[in-house]
């Protein structure tokens, strides 16, 4: 990136008209991709009658504060702020929990020969293959058996049971030069020292990339939290949005639903944007 910055604009593609074309393509792409979100934002700033009488406006109205303060205080069972906090705890818990257990187990698979290693490796593969919805009822019974309904651990643990992250870390560890481990071994370094001093720092960007992916995975969960939180104070935000849609013949309060949807997007967007640099570097390295 730095090297490229020093080049004059359009070094790779010299013609100026092409540069404009590039911007045109990007702007068109952004317009199409961003349009649904723009529309949600517009809907969150106008009134219900403006939305239900087609066509709804395409430019924001002046009910921003009214709708958003209603959204923040509304919520089906609990205020939206409570749900946002729950989602945050759940998403961070899933991301950190999965990264932690995956890092150490991937380290064990790559750097040790131990009984049952191959079996363990294939078990990891298997967990990538069965959709959550299929095992949702038996999983619920397990969680209930442990008394983990309505708890953060019940929200978090079943969702870190798949081994995607272990698989990715294994791929990355395989690319770490053998010389480093050799040198550590010659120095008489203990495996855990090697892990903390060499492997962990080298995995920094991978961890960041996975954190982003897992955070969003956790944040966007819907069916699972719906099933296991019977106590309203444990509800999450995505669940809350869906709950604002009426059953049967009642009508939807679009401005509040859309305002809540926008609020629900902000934390994951902040995470992605703020970790963008690390995230991209992490992706680069894990793809080798």
């Amino acid at each position: 990136m730095r090297a490229l910055d020093t080049l004059p604009d359009g070094m790779v593609e010299k013609r100026g008209s092409s540069l404009w074309l590039s911007h045109l393509v990007m702007i068109a792409g952004v317009l199409v991709i961003f349009f649904p979100i723009w529309l949600a934002f517009v809907a969150s700033t106008v009134t219900q009658p403006e939305i239900v009488k087609p066509p709804m406006p395409l430019m924001p109205g002046d009910h921003f504060f009214e709708n958003y303060s209603r959204a923040l205080n509304a919520g089906v069972n609990v205020p939206v702020t409570t749900m946002l906090v729950n989602s945050l705890i759940m998403a961070i818990g899933i991301a950190l929990g999965k990264i932690a257990i995956s890092l150490i187990s991937a380290f064990a698979i790559v750097y040790f020969r131990f009984p049952g290693r191959t079996l363990f490796f294939w078990m990891i593969f298997l967990t990538l293959m069965l959709p959550v919805e299929v095992r949702i009822v038996p999983t619920y019974e397990v969680v209930a058996g442990f008394g983990m309904l309505n708890s953060y651990s019940g929200l978090i643990f079943p969702l870190i049971a798949s081994a995607t992250a272990t698989f990715l870390f294994r791929q990355f560890f395989m690319t770490i030069p053998d010389e480093l481990a050799e040198a550590a071994r010659v120095d008489g370094a203990r495996p855990l020292r090697f892990f903390f001093d060499i492997v962990l720092p080298m995995s920094r960007t991978n961890i960041a990339a996975l954190f982003v992916i897992l955070f969003i995975y956790g944040w966007n969960q819907y069916l699972w939290p719906l099933l296991i939180t019977t106590d309203p104070s444990m509800n999450t935000i995505v669940m809350g949005i869906k709950q604002m849609f009426p059953s049967g013949d009642d009508t939807a309060d679009w401005p509040v639903i859309m305002a809540t949807s926008i609020l629900a997007m902000i934390p994951p967007v902040i995470v992605v944007v703020s970790m963008q640099k690390l995230f991209l570097r992490g992706l680069l390295e894990s793809e080798k």
């Binding site: 990136m1 990007m26 990538l128």
Partner: protein, 293 residues
Amino acid sequence: MEKRVTFKGWLLPLLLVFPQLLISAVFFFYPAGQAIWQSLFIPDPFGLSSQFVGLGNFKFLFGDSYYRASFVTTAIFSILVTLASLIPALLLAVVADRLIKGATVYRTLLIWPYAVAPAVAGVLWLFMFNTRVGVVSWYLGQFGYDWNHVLNDGEAMGLVVVASAWGRVSYNFLFFFAALQAVPKSVVEAAAIDGARFTRRFFTIVLPLISPTTFFLLVVNIVYAFFETFGVIHTITSGGPQQATTILVYKVFSDGFVGQDLGSSAAQSVVLLVVVGLMTIIQFKYLEKRVHY
């Protein structure tokens, strides 16, 4: 692929894999085993009684022509979602890669859809395309196009594909962008000096260089199209019109979770497991060979 250099000992590695093993066993293998076992029964939803039927659930499924047809629907849907999420993402990434000014702004706007939960994305797209009153279908109507995804199966398929692919475009864009940034500029410039046109340079040099990323995204997106799109379909079409958008996982979800037919739902997930297993083998055997590392 194996490491040549390893550490000695077996207690430490076992301790290290223990947390993962425990969580997988308790929250994955036990419940998954239960689900597979159930495919041999017709249980009642409350778990009060259940009838052993052997392979009866499978016979019931494959005797149903609608179920057999949904394999084709699933294939079409998955291919379309994968293409619709990869191609625009690659195009945008290629263009963004060539820009220095404004790239961050574009990138920041492009990643928003990734932050939208699939459950909410379905609602958003239905909101825009609701027959005659959605804002997009209304404007289409003004231009003389009568949008009607509730009866037109092509439009229904198009809408669920776009709604499912939407968030993935952002995700894929990030990966492609990262891969393209890693392509050494010197290689590309050398070709440019040789006078190779951009399109040729792209197909002969850049595309092979980013093929590991493309392969990874291909696998991830097919899995996504298979497993994680049922919520979007449930919200927008409920599998209709007729059965035009009923994909396999949506049927697992609607028979099991909505229809309370746990036996059939479990049998369907066993079928899915086999399908996904076969696909994984094919992908790694044939596609990976053609990928240049």
